[in-house]
């Protein structure tokens, strides 16, 4: 059972470039999340989704976009990369209301130069 899979693991972007971080889960979870982790700051919620076709902003959504066309996939798009987006990004999923435990991917370390 693969759980939550993120790709790529590492990426270096130049300022102004775009990229998509991929996230796939095989647990048939309804809820999916994108977090960013910065040193000493814990994890901050970027976007989340409660099911295919439904997404909503989290605490720090500026500079990012998401889509959820299937239950399994929840890609995160950076349109115009900025140095402030240098971070480690984690995708997570959980079954839904009443099942609060979340499962995390291994993370994507992104550097914008």
């Amino acid at each position: 059972n693969a759980g939550v899979t993120q790709t790529p693991k590492f990426r270096i972007l130049k300022i102004g470039q775009s990229m998509t971080l991929q996230c796939t889960q095989d647990m048939n979870h309804n809820y999916m999340y994108w977090y960013r982790q910065d040193p000493g700051m814990g994890l901050k919620l970027i976007y989340y989704s409660v099911g295919a076709g439904i997404t909503d902003k989290g605490e720090v959504p500026n500079g990012y976009n998401v889509s959820r066309s299937t239950t399994e996939d929840f890609p995160l798009r950076l349109e115009l990369a900025a140095p402030s987006q240098t971070s480690v990004y984690f995708c997570a999923s959980r079954w839904g209301r009443g099942a609060p435990e979340a499962f995390f991917g291994q993370g994507t370390r992104l550097t914008v130069v």
Partner: protein, 113 residues
């Protein structure tokens, strides 16, 4: 609204001695609480969870935590530290709704030989 405060950014203990990582939470409803562990350059792994059942919760690798509503605390303990426990630990709260988990800023646990 909900929030989490991890009272120590770094904790250093000797191998074989007890571990105490402190966490206080704020929540306007009955929360679910978690401790996650993150080893260097790895994803987040669930250590244990409290979801309104027994207030003393046992997790993996000998860790346990006690939910104290009167003190709004959820401290993590282990009787005897092992070198492999060196990692970042996150206290997390959620109301179980769609909008995900709220993370503390993390406690870095150092184990001295």
């Amino acid at each position: 609204a909900q929030s989490v405060t991890q009272l120590d950014s770094h904790v250093s203990v000797s191998e074989g001695t007890p571990v105490l990582l402190r966490c206080n939470y704020s929540s306007s409803y009955s929360p679910s609480l978690f401790w996650y562990v993150q080893h260097p350059n790895k994803g987040l792994q669930l250590l244990l969870k409290y979801t309104s059942a027994a207030t003393l919760v046992k997790g993996i690798n000998g860790f346990e935590a006690e939910f104290k509503k009167s003190e709004t605390s959820f401290h993590l303990t282990k009787p005897s530290a092992h070198m492999s426990d060196a990692a970042e630990y996150f206290c997390v709260v959620t109301r179980g709704g769609a909008d995900g988990l709220t993370f503390g800023k993390g406690t870095h646990l150092i184990i001295q030989p």
